[in-house]
Amino acid sequence: MTELSRQYWKARVIRYFFQSCAITSILIVVLVFLFLGRESLPFIQKFGLSELFNPVWQPVSFEDEQFGMLALISGSLLVTFLATLIAVPFGVISAIYIAEMASPVEREIWKPVIEMLAGIPSVVLGFFGLVVVAPLVKEVFHLSSGLNALTGALLLALMAIPTIITISEDAIRNVPNSYKEASYSLGASKLQTIWKVTVPAALSGIVAAVMLGIGRVVGETMAVMMVTGNAAIISFSPTESVRTMTATVAAEMGEVPFGSDHYHALFVIGIVLLLMTFALNMVAQRVLKKYRIG
């Protein structure tokens, strides 16, 4: 074997190795879809898709078992919406402050603290929510119970904020200095420069940060399960209890008899959840393309 052909084969082997690594992740996604599809098909065949819009989730019952998912879907949407409402302004403004206004010493303190916040396990945060946040929310809003969508959203916002801050801050800091200098030279103030030049230039990164933050919120399970009260009712009030899709799957999967209607119903919830995050990613990609500047 000549030196040249040896090198040729070496290159090919390495190429195939890399290729197989890349293909594996695609394969896993496809397999997850197939598996969820297979396990949820019996349910859809038996009950039809109309169960998605039935409001009653009563999976363990001596009278009438019902697997309506509307309340779960609306619960997830409500908590996600509220959490986004809290986390996005808070996160983006903090990122702007840290990137543009904070002194280097301040920045050295902020960044590790925020990263620590990201590292708190969600079950610990959930416990904190149960013991501290829920009674506080009850007291402040004069409610009958602090176990509601708002408390869940507050905790979820706390989890999304570090993601949003870290990635937005990177995006803002990556805006070339020449942009800002041009703005200053035209007589713009610091605040004008930030809002009219720096933030628009970093928008694609900020949107990506927000989407990643929302992604974390939609999929989060443990903390919401501990503080939202998990009552499967449809409501658009932040002070009502909600039951999210993730909490439902997590709470009920361990108990469910293998192969029962209830078992298959949980997989249908899984598919709905997957499609939701899928749609979220698609929207994020579109937005990213539209606003890409520079």
């Binding site: 009958s144 602090g146 009260g229 998990n230 009552a231 108990e255």
Partner: protein, 283 residues
Amino acid sequence: MKKLALCTLVFAAILALGCGRSETPKEKTAIDIKGSDTMVNLMSSMAENFMKGHAGKNVAVTGGGSGTGIAALLNGTTDICAASRTMLGKEYDLAKQKGLSPQEFVIGMDGLAVFVNPQNTVDSLTLDQIKQIFQGQITDWSQLGGQPGEVVVLSRESNSGTYVYFKEHVLAKGDFVNSARLMTSTAALVQEVSSNANAIGYGGEAYGHDSKVKMLNVRKTADSPAIFPTETTVREGTYPIARPLFLYTNGVPAGLIKEFIDYCNAPEGQRIVREVGYVPLKG
């Protein structure tokens, strides 16, 4: 090609034989117990004390819920299932399909207490009132003679044996009101009751012994006496909401499994039942 197939077959047969042999050792030295979260503390202390007297033997205890334990027993992944409810008809059917014959043992009793906040002025309720509260027909404490305030109904999640027991025996197989908040553990439920003046929940009587929550006296009917959940009233059956604590095995227990179950029913084991906060079978 044929030769290859034959080789594979022979190899598989050897492998199967080998595995079969390793799965049935002469003397079992370790048993797994899985099931009820209510019983997890009880079974852990039981296992600990059992191992002290049986050097070299190992008993591992995990929770997960009665249903999880029964499923594990039927799948053969646990030796003993601890359950705070009886096996359901469909679970027996599944066992029959798999050719198993689960055996049931009672090792103690548990009174299910109804918890309210210590500030609540209501002291006793009838079973029917409790049913109406948890089904949403009574919504305000003033309807029960307490301070006005919207009743906040707390329940366990549907994976809990306590949930199924309460539904079957207190709600007469009816459903919980759908605004009932489902808590992931009895500890979380007690925590919420202790911080919420209008909350009501239920759980093992052992959780009510600290002063964070108040246990209610329960009347069977409006005319019967109000009974507080204590060891005597639970064992004698005068307290209306009490349940047995079960162990299930696959087939008649033998060897180490039998030794362990005998230990639970012996005076030593029954002493542990009382220590952990449940009610032993004899006084």
